[in-house]
Amino acid sequence: MSNLNRLNTLRVRLVLWSMLVNALLLIAFGGGIWFALRQVQYRQINDMLQLSAAQLAASIDANNGQLTIPPDDVAVLASRSVFAWVINDIGHVDLTIGQAAKQPAPTLENDLQDTLDEQGNPIRLYRYSLSENSGSIVVGISLRTVQQTLQTVLLILAATIPLALLISAVGAIFLAGRALSPIAAITAQAKRISHENLSERLAFKSRDEVGQLALTFDTMLDRLQAAFEHERQFIGNVSHELRTPLSMLKAQISLALNRPRDSATLVQMVSAMDGDVDRMARLVESMLTLIRTEATPISFIAVDLSDLLNGLVSQLQPLAAERQITLALETPPSVRTPGDPDQLVQLFLNLLDNALKYSTAGGQVRVCLTVDRHECQITVKDTGVGIAPQELSQLFDRFYRADPSRTRQTGGVGLGLSIARAIVQQHSGRIQVQSQPGRGSLFTIFLPLYST
């Protein structure tokens, strides 16, 4: 974490976001409550003023215009802290109730109006017009209590919102820390894993998202390790395969130079070295073919497999004849597959080369092309030495040879079938092998059909 900007960590951002959301929520909630309370309070006051005015008017009416108010009614009004002026039609104050006695009757612009009394206290006044132009009643009430209540609520909100925010921030920091601590653990563990200890895993046991992340990470490491191991083995094999002819060359050259030799001996020694150089050249060539096949995407064109196999088989006939092997091909005309003609030639050349190599005189190699609904199937069957069952699974591995001693006679470098498999995979096909030791082998290749 040290090399991260402290203010830009996920933890800080999580906390800030949660605080912002909490603040907005608290302010909206508190504000809403305050406004609702205010609304309710003022409506009560209005109701009380209207009710009081109506009661006053009713008792004036009941007395037939007599300006006397029954003491009961006065007591009711006083209990509500309501005061009132009864004003006649020429604007003269006929009667006052409660505090109204201490000040003159106000002049109102609206029926409902807020103003200040003589002492500067806020009051609300309500004017109630009496019937038949016989004057009006103005009732008033002090707003001080309501305003104080509202102010107190506001103060409480102003004090509790920051406090709640603070508590929620502490909680958020704690929660973010808890949620993120496995990530820090994973980071620390992942930092320790390099190509030298690729076998280590995070092994983080948890069913949550972080556990998922760690599991994904571990499976990625599995794949990386397998790929690494594969490459390491390949490089090991390559260096071993190159070192064998190199050792031979070095031994031969140093032997040749170790003492004076006549030219006939030297010619003999150098031609032996030539064979080793050829072997190294073949090996390097095969490796490059394999790497190219695996690495480069191919541009597919319609390849006529029938033509391709016909050409190959007739090219190899002389070699087969020389080894007294019958080489036969069965194919319907113009079967087309999407592919790279050079790679496909290489594929079948490798298979036929193997079939011829491992067959003895009098043997047979049959190539058969058949077409299914979706794909075509090419079989290469020989009557050669065959492959032991336990070796079939490794047959397509790089540098694998069923019998190491055979190499020296056949000159193979152990990459032919790896190249074949790589080519088949590039063509979205499959390759299979069946074999019986002493009876022969059967290679089957499935390739997609070309559709226009």
Binding site: R243, M248, A251, L255, N258
Partner: protein, 224 residues
Amino acid sequence: MRVLVVEDEARMAALIRQGLEEEAYAVDVVGNGREALNWLQSVDYDLLILDLMLPSIDGLGVCREYRENGGRVPILMLTARNTLSERVIGLDSGADDYLGKPFGMPELLARLRALSRREGPSKTSVLRVHDLSLDTTTKRATRSGQSIELTATEYALLELLMRHAGQILSRDQIINHVWNADFESGSKLIEVYIHYLRRKIDSEHATKLIHTVRGFGYRINGDE
């Protein structure tokens, strides 16, 4: 000096054999570990060259088994897997020296000379008896400052006698260390080569160095 070469790659074995024979070693070649152990039991070798990767029993296995059975012949191990841990394992299993492939013939020969020096009483590459000296590096003999030309077999025979100066060596011992398994026993080859050596070394000098011990064999020394 008789050497057993244990190497499964026939061409490599043939090259080593040629290189050693040209330096007057008697060489036998076998291709697997089991055979190597059999040969080591029946023949008294001076040196063993052992490839690490072998069929049947590998080089390390041969090394261990041979040493556990009390075998004392110096072992030079050859291998294509030339890593530090491999070398350590090789040396720990009883090999005396380790040579990685690819190697040059001169280095192989120099290491073999070093191994045989380690066994003998002399730490130099020059053997001396009286006024006769034999340089095992250049394969040249000199007596009283006079240089003597030797053929490969003559050299091998003289080297054997001088390494055991003062001791009587039997015909069998001589056959064992100078000729390889292809030698036909019963032939007069030893007498012939002793005769050649005497002509080159002793004929012009009053002090005779090569002695025939009747009924036993031959001996070289200068104090009689």
